[in-house]
């Protein structure tokens, strides 16, 4: 028996496909997983005035903001990816994104970027911005974070076979469909092109990043929405990047970092497998789960 459930969240469509014995129960589990994603959207949306992220951005420049365990863990994960990716992933790009016109609203008077200006105090579990104008944007990791929590909810409900995805760019697989090694997913390197890389996903998460997802025309130049926080420009060194990891949030954050870098940095997590589409149009797959990828 297969059940489907879908909800809009985080500016895209999340979908759950579940396999099992009782359809009603599968549907209920799918709904709960998607409700978890909705809850995370309410907490981490940059554009909702009532979100936790809006509160952090509004107040952390003046005072230390107390966080719950989940929220603090997420920001610590951001800090770790930022450090290990040598700054290629940076969740403080919000003011810069607005300044470049990717986010709505007037450009801010200044657009500082720097995770080094985000102080996370594990003892008091608080966050504080050390520089004026700093703001967080978790757009490059939020979907993965929500998918991790949703998948945990499904596992807790006893679901053994499911695929959850957000906007087809981030997915998490639980088990595999009957008779298969994993959930077979095609990865498209170019907009509109047929997939030439496939992955059999099982108890892993996948995230794919590419600059063509959202673009902006500025001074006659088409700019991709992925910024290199170090140069402060929308520039990347690969045509697409995919990351497979046991953690959806790590896969999400690292796919962005790998797109910016164009190669695996030395401190890439050992359990993370990457696939990078270079400028010549060749997929380069590295990491412990290389065997689950198939290039055509």
């Amino acid at each position: 028996m297969i059940a489907l459930a879908a909800r809009p969240a985080m500016g895209t469509r999340f979908e759950a496909v579940l396999a099992g014995e009782e359809e009603g129960r599968l549907r209920a589990a799918g709904e709960e997983a998607l409700e978890t994603i909705e809850e995370e959207d309410l907490r981490w949306s940059l554009f909702r005035r009532g979100s936790l992220l809006t509160l952090i951005n509004a107040r952390a420049g003046d005072v230390s903001v107390r966080l719950d365990e989940e929220a603090f863990d997420l920001l610590e994960t951001c800090r770790a990816i930022h450090r290990d990716s040598e700054g290629a992933f940076d969740p403080t790009v919000a003011p810069l994104m607005r300044s470049l016109g990717f986010h709505p609203g007037p450009p801010p008077p200044m657009a500082p970027v720097g995770m080094d200006a985000v102080d996370l105090d594990a003892g008091s579990r608080t966050v504080r911005f050390l520089r004026r104008g700093i703001a967080l944007d978790l757009g490059a990791i939020g979907k993965g974070h929500a998918l991790d929590l949703a998948a945990a909810r499904l596992r807790e409900a006893g679901i053994r076979c499911a695929l959850l995805h957000g906007g087809t760019s981030s997915a998490v697989a639980i088990g595999a469909p009957p008779g298969r090694e994993g959930w077979r997913i095609g990865i498209r390197g170019e907009e509109g092109a047929e997939p030439r890389l496939f992955v059999e996903l099982r108890d892993r998460a996948l995230s794919v990043s590419a600059p063509h997802g959202r673009t902006l025309l500025r001074d006659g130049e088409r700019l991709g929405h992925v910024l290199d926080p170090r140069s402060r420009r929308p520039e990347v060194r690969a045509r697409a990047a995919a990351a497979v990891s046991p953690s959806a949030r790590l896969a999400d954050g690292w796919s962005t970092a790998l797109l910016v870098l164009g190669e695996r940095p030395p401190r890439t997590p050992d359990d993370l497998t990457s696939a990078i589409l270079d400028e010549a149009g060749t997929w380069r797959v590295e990491g412990p789960d290389r065997r689950i990828f198939e290039a055509r």
Partner: protein
């Protein structure tokens, strides 16, 4: 609440029907800044309990220090949403051991409220109790009497009464728009199973209390109570009878509790409220509508509109109008405090309720605790709305018209 000044309302002077959005004053956004943190506990960490934790995080004036749930998994999930809390499986142990606790939020299944509320009040804790406050008239009365006889604050979680949009609309309704009320309509559509899953069957049965006909008040009680109260509050009246019917239209999983219900509530002097709720369809979500001879008001929890009749008097403050189209009608967005927002160039930012309705209910509770403000919805209002919900459920369950005599609506 301070009533809106007349120039804060923007009415369309043109022909046909005009839609006018009612939005709250956003100037008072500071969540009780400066107050000493009040230690609070949350009892029941299901969906609603987690939502309460999320909103509480926004208030400096409150610190969650204790959580309670019989389900270890839910307790653990709640603890991840709070910082430095102590977890309890039993509310009595929580009330006994968490000495600094000043208030509790009761978000357990409805039929379990009574003992928790009574114990909490007896232990001197203020109580915010989700609505409906109980699943039987006897329990609801006991809670209301207990709250009345206690020195502690009690707030029933009827969220409309603290919702800035509804408060704004209420004052307008009472002043003009509700004149010559013709009819009322309530609507709740959300496509969902209403089921909860767990890895153990026994645990799953307990978590699915809303689908248990022995204890559940069904859609008409569990959801309807919140919405019926909007009509009670606006009109100042309660229904005199209710009839209804329900059926399982989509979720054929063996459930007995209908997933779709229709009700007809008769109010004094001939006005009627038709109420429809369904778990089979999501169209138009949740809203309440008042049809008056001068205008129709539609309230949808995070937004509200007024559709003026073409022959209703023209007002002089249309200058701030922000127009919207609703199908063939051109409406005017009404924003409370529009003058100030326009001067700041922030008129568009005034569109939409900034926080979820639950936030404002919690805020008003904390204001009562920290600043001594009047409780926006006390035990008596909570009891009466719950009683209507219980009798509406009886009407759906029996298929008969159920009378609602005044005596039933009295706590004593």
């Amino acid at each position: 609440m301070t009533g809106p000044s007349r120039r804060e309302f923007l009415l369309d002077a043109g022909g046909a029907l005009a839609a006018i959005s009612l939005f709250p004053d956003l100037s008072g956004a500071s969540p009780l800044a400066g107050a000493d943190p009040i230690e609070v506990g949350v009892i029941g960490i299901g969906r609603q309990g987690r939502a309460i934790l999320t909103e509480l995080q926004k208030f400096d004036a409150a610190k969650v220090s204790a959580l309670c749930d019989v389900d270890p998994s839910r307790l653990e999930s709640g603890a991840r949403r709070a910082s430095g809390v102590e977890g309890f499986a039993d509310h009595r142990a929580m009330l006994e051991k968490a000495k600094g606790l000043k208030a509790v939020f009761v978000a357990t299944p409805t039929h379990l409220h009574r003992a928790i509320v009574e114990d909490s009040l007896a232990a001197g804790r203020a109580v915010y109790c989700e609505a409906p406050i109980a699943s039987t008239l006897e329990d609801a009365r006991a809670i209301a009497k207990g709250a009345r006889g206690s020195k502690s604050i009690f707030q029933a979680g009827l969220q409309a009464r603290s919702n800035p949009i509804y408060r704004l609309a209420w004052s307008f309704f009472r002043s003009a728009a509700g004149r010559d009320l013709a009819s009322m309509r309530g609507h709740h559509h959300r496509k969902t199973t209403w089921r909860v899953t767990a890895s153990e069957p026994a645990r799953e049965a307990a978590l699915n209390w809303r689908l248990d006909p022995e204890v559940s008040l069904g859609l008409e009680g569990e959801q309807g109570t919140q919405q019926f109260d909007v009509f009670h509050w606006f009109t100042g009246r309660y229904p005199v009878s209710v009839r209804g019917a329900g059926a399982v239209r989509l979720h054929n999983d063996g459930r007995k509790v209908p997933d779709t219900v229709l009700l007809d509530l008769a109010f004094p002097e001939g006005a009627r409220l038709s109420y429809e709720a369904s778990l089979a369809n999501s169209f138009e979500g949740t809203h309440e509508v008042f049809h008056g001879s001068q205008a129709t008001i539609k309230l949808a929890w995070t937004a509200g509109w007024m559709f003026k009749e073409a022959d209703s008097p023209t007002q002089g403050w249309e200058v701030y109008a922000n127009r919207q189209r609703f199908g063939n009608e051109e409406g005017i967005t009404l924003i409370a405090d529009a003058t100030k927002l326009a001067a700041q160039g922030k008129l568009q930012e005034g569109v939409g309720l900034p926080q979820p309705p639950l936030y404002y209910a919690i805020e008003s509770f904390l204001k009562s605790l920290a600043q001594g403000e009047a409780v926006v919805c006390g035990a008596e209002e909570g009891y009466r709305a719950t009683a209507v919900g219980i009798l509406a459920h009886r009407a759906v369950a029996t298929g008969e018209t159920v009378e609602i005599p005044e005596s039933v609506l009295k706590v004593d």
